[in-house]
Amino acid sequence: MKSSRQLEMLVGVFMAIGMVALFFLAMQVSNLGTLHTGDSYEVKARFDNIGSLKVKAPVTMAGVEVGRISKIGFDKERFQALVTLSIYAEYDAIPQDTYAKILTAGLLGEQYIGLDPGGSDEVLKDGSEIEVTQSALVLEEVIGQFIFSKAQEGEK
């Protein structure tokens, strides 16, 4: 039988180790540590095809995360995807004519939105829309186009 103090200490250490492990998993392994908790403003963008883009996918600029996708909808009149980007408030000087394209992490990785800054003096504000977009690269379409162009070359 352990003495009372020893017992308390060992159990205390055990609980502490467990908590530290949980904290480590949350802050260092999962996205809880990198999660943006501050303010953000919302910007819209229309795409012809968003591929497999998901809500919560990152929005990056020069590889740095500047926001997340907060909503994906469908524009019934223009038959386009209507994506709402939530940009962190500290990035408040993104030019109005910024170019948004859907990129893929790695060859088969998940898709995200990359922003290429334009040159305008006007900046994006809450509710504004990004006019210039480039759709996702859909593998089947790329392959299809490739075969089509080869076939056309052959006809010539």
């Binding site: 609980m15 392994v29 790695g106 060859l107």
Partner: protein
């Protein structure tokens, strides 16, 4: 044919009877939770024998499982030139599946069997009867603290397993195989969601902990009060807990990550 049916029916009835008894016992345990708050010392002792004594095997296993995962994952991922996602693979498998499941299996073998044997022996040597005759409820005094201790310990042990697994994987992947350190952590943080992956993993380990201690305590309390009875009950604890954990894991995974 009828003999087979009869046997099937009989074991079905026995199973239901045990399930009923186990449920009654569980309700009794839950109803006497107040005791644990009133006398933290009882819980402390059990946290020691259920939790502290299980730390070592969990820590060592976690470390090695992480290292092996990293090694195996590297050879597969490097064929697709996707070594950068090694961290994600290791962390996701640990946090979602291996952490809770392997911890629960080890827990059943290390702590669950000990719980059953201890309670069974207390029954066989009339200590539980003795408590009853001293007007002390053995469920309240003996079983409830053990139950709570197991329930608290499991998620902590599973977290320890996963955390050390990630570190072990990091040591092999980044330290030995040369995966980029930034890619390892960065990809991991980008892709492991605290809510969907981590939190669900914790829920799993809570459910497994509940099932494992429940089975262990019931088997001990319900065993035949003889040496053979205790040893059979101990074996049953390990077998039933393992099966329960695997079945629950399938069900929970289907619910959570579909």
């Amino acid at each position: 044919m009828t003999g087979l049916l009869a046997r099937l029916g009989r074991s079905g009835i026995i199973f239901l009877r045990h399930l009923g008894r186990a449920t009654v016992l569980l309700l009794h345990i839950l109803a006497s939770m107040g005791e644990v708050l009133r006398r933290p010392r009882l819980l402390l002792e059990q946290l020691f024998s259920v939790g502290v004594l299980t730390v070592l095997i969990i820590a060592v296993s976690g470390l090695f499982v992480g290292m092996v995962l990293s090694l195996q994952g590297y050879y597969i991922l490097s064929q697709f030139a996707a070594e950068a996602t090694l961290g994600v693979m290791v962390a996701a498998s640990l946090v979602r599946e291996l952490g809770p499941v392997v911890t629960a299996l080890l827990f059943a073998g290390r702590a669950g069997s000990a719980l059953t044997a201890e309670i069974g022996l207390m029954k066989a040597t009339e200590q539980l009867s003795g408590l009853e005759m001293m007007a002390v409820d053995p469920v309240r005094r003996v079983l409830t603290p053990r139950f709570v201790a197991g329930f608290i310990s499991m998620p902590l042990l599973a977290a320890l397993f996963s955390a050390l697994g990630v570190l072990g994987g990091w040591f092999v992947g980044v330290g030995l195989l040369g995966v980029d350190d930034g890619a390892w952590w960065g990809q991991m943080q980008a892709r492991i969601d605290w809510n969907e992956d981590l939190f669900n993993g914790v829920i799993k380990s809570l459910v497994f902990g509940f099932a494992c201690v429940w089975i262990a305590i019931f088997q001990g309390y319900n065993c035949l009060p003889t040496s053979a009875g205790v040893s059979r009950a101990t074996t049953r604890t390990v077998v039933h807990s393992s099966l329960a954990v695997l079945a629950l894991d399938f069900a929970l995974t289907a619910l959570m990550f579909n």
